[in-house]
Amino acid sequence: MTNKSFVKFENVQKSYDGEVLVVKDLNLEIPKGEFLTMLGPSGSGKTTCLMMLAGFETATHGIISLDGNPINNIPPHKRGIGMVFQNYALFPHMTVYENLSFPLEVRKLSKTVREEKIKLALDMVQMREFGNRRPAQLSGGQQQRIALARSLVFEPDLVLMDEPLGALDKQLREHMQYEIKHLHERLGVTVVYVTHDQSEALTMSDRVAVFNDGVIQQLASPPDLYEQPENAFVAQFIGENNKIMAEVVDVKGSVVTAKTSKGNLLKSKKVNCDEVGSKTTLSIRPERIKVGSKGENTSEAKVLELIYIGDHIRCRMLVEGDENFIVKIPNAKKISDLKIGLKTQVSWSTGDCRALDRLV
């Protein structure tokens, strides 16, 4: 039971100023050992959630529990939660070794035990030789590793990370993503990870909670999130997406027929749209679209721009009045037929198009 919901948010709300709810009715259960990522645009309340879990902000309403026990009134230092901060927060006046020693000292562990654990933690992040350096004498990536080691050295069951890779360059960031993921797999700790980088979220996580405006828009595994977005925000936020505004004219089982502003009738999968007469956003991934042939759904298109990527061609088209309709065409022989200004057709199968809520 507690294994299934090691961390639990129940109807949690948070407001800083008593006027605006920064977190609105959050419900979230995180099983033990999971790597859960909170993903969302800036200001969506991710850090706030993390801080409530760590105990640095109090929830205005609702219950947060850890391992079955409500922790709303437990001060941060008694929660036993490891934490990695965006700026690493390595203590500048202490050496790496002293930094790692600090959580063990406040736990009053003996010197020999401390040495043992620090050695293990430094080995874990391959930073054994750096024990005597000050944080300022380390590169960003090295500081990152030490911060990681420090959050894990006292063997917490839960580790929170708030955009820990935000300050690193792309290559190092990708490298560290794998390292963190492997550490998580090896140690089996529960990780709550915050980022606004969707590719980071998709590569690392067991599940991703997409935040917007203080609400979890969707909580799902990375493939589900990409393949089956439940609303227009998620479809738009995760990966590339083409959207066509339309009005529902018919609903039969799981198939919705919708009419675009051009009068074209398109069929799609019913996911999150209202009855006949309401507006809907049709969502199709760029790689699921065929160019130049008819299919279950077909639309007129005009090529506006071609960008050579290598393994594929990005083609920007005018479709249903939308000038930013993107199609990804695999790099094969016949693409030399495509020219800017060419009028052609695009088609897709009904199952690949999802009828979602209306985007505001």
Binding site: P75, H77, F102, P103
Partner: protein, 420 residues
Amino acid sequence: MLASQNNNNQKMLTTDGIPLKKKLSKALFRSRLRAFGLVTPLLLLISIGFVFPIIVFLTRGVYNDTFEKYMVNLTPILAEWDGKSEPTEDMYEALVLDLVWLKETKNIGKVASRMNRELSGSRSLFTSSARKAKKLEAPFKESLTKVKKKWAKLETWRAMKVTSQSLSPVFLASALDMKYTAEGTIVQKSPERRIHVKLFIRTLEISLVVVIAGLILGYPVAFLLANLPIRISNLLLILVLLPFWTSLLVRTTAWIAMLQGQGVLNDLFVVFGIATDEDRFTLIYNKAGTLISMTHILLPFMILPIYSVMKTIPPSYVRAAKSMGATNWTAFWRIYFPQTIPGIGAGAILVFILAISFYITPALVGGQDGTMISNFIDYHMRKSLNWSLAAAMGGVLLVIILFLYWIYDRVVGIDNMKLG
């Protein structure tokens, strides 16, 4: 191309064949010269208006040629005299010659007051003898002692010998409650005349207490300033800076109104029954008054450097410490406090150096036991006109400050100091 390949081991050359090092230093020299040109006016102003006068004034503490300049006949003879044997007729003759000339050139007053510093009562001895010097006849030893008996005393001559040395530690010794004798030794003054050392110690003590009190009072204020919401902290900051907008004199007199026997504070004490109406606290015109008002006046200098350092410490450090299991106190003491030390160092040294030379406040509220060394320096500058002693005392004060600064550098490290 070829040449540069062959000369791999030799010095690097630029394309026009000049060694790279030389060219670099030339380029740097030009930019340095330009930088120097920019600061020249300031440098001139500082050296002419600040460094030069200070050095000139400080030399007065060890160099005073009044006697040598005006007693041209006597000075060389005194230099040879051993300071113990009976003064010879030669010496008396030279003295009379000098006195006559001093009287004619109307310079007797200068020498008389210079001598009076060394031996009180010498002023009248010199002026009255000079008046009669012209009529004196040989043997001068007899005739002069007839005018004033004091001329026969060895003490008078020894004082003249000391004074005749232009470059001498006589004032420095005096600033440290010691006496420079005619034999060139330095001895302590009699206990009841030792006042300066006590004053130096009191000055250091007051400054130290002001620093400590400022730290205790200022640290929490700086912490509040750095951690309150910006709107409130700005208001608080204005309150901290408010004293800067009023003159030092006004603030000090305000403290007089606050602290005096019939003042606000004592009235409150009486109201709350801490003191009785007849038996009020004396909070002013003593050390307590100096300490209270100096602490208040110097508090902003303590708060601001600490505040500016605290401002740069992100809250994530303390949060990180707490997430690792540290209690509030441990997180503060082991993580937050050490990072504020540069601010504390800067504030402490700033307040200390300002306090050690404080002058108006102790003069107004210090009374007897609350005055400081600078008040004495001022006294010798303006009242007794003993500039040499004032210079010597200022020099000693400067040396003390430099010494403490050096200790501070050894213990805390100047690089560890942060003013903003």
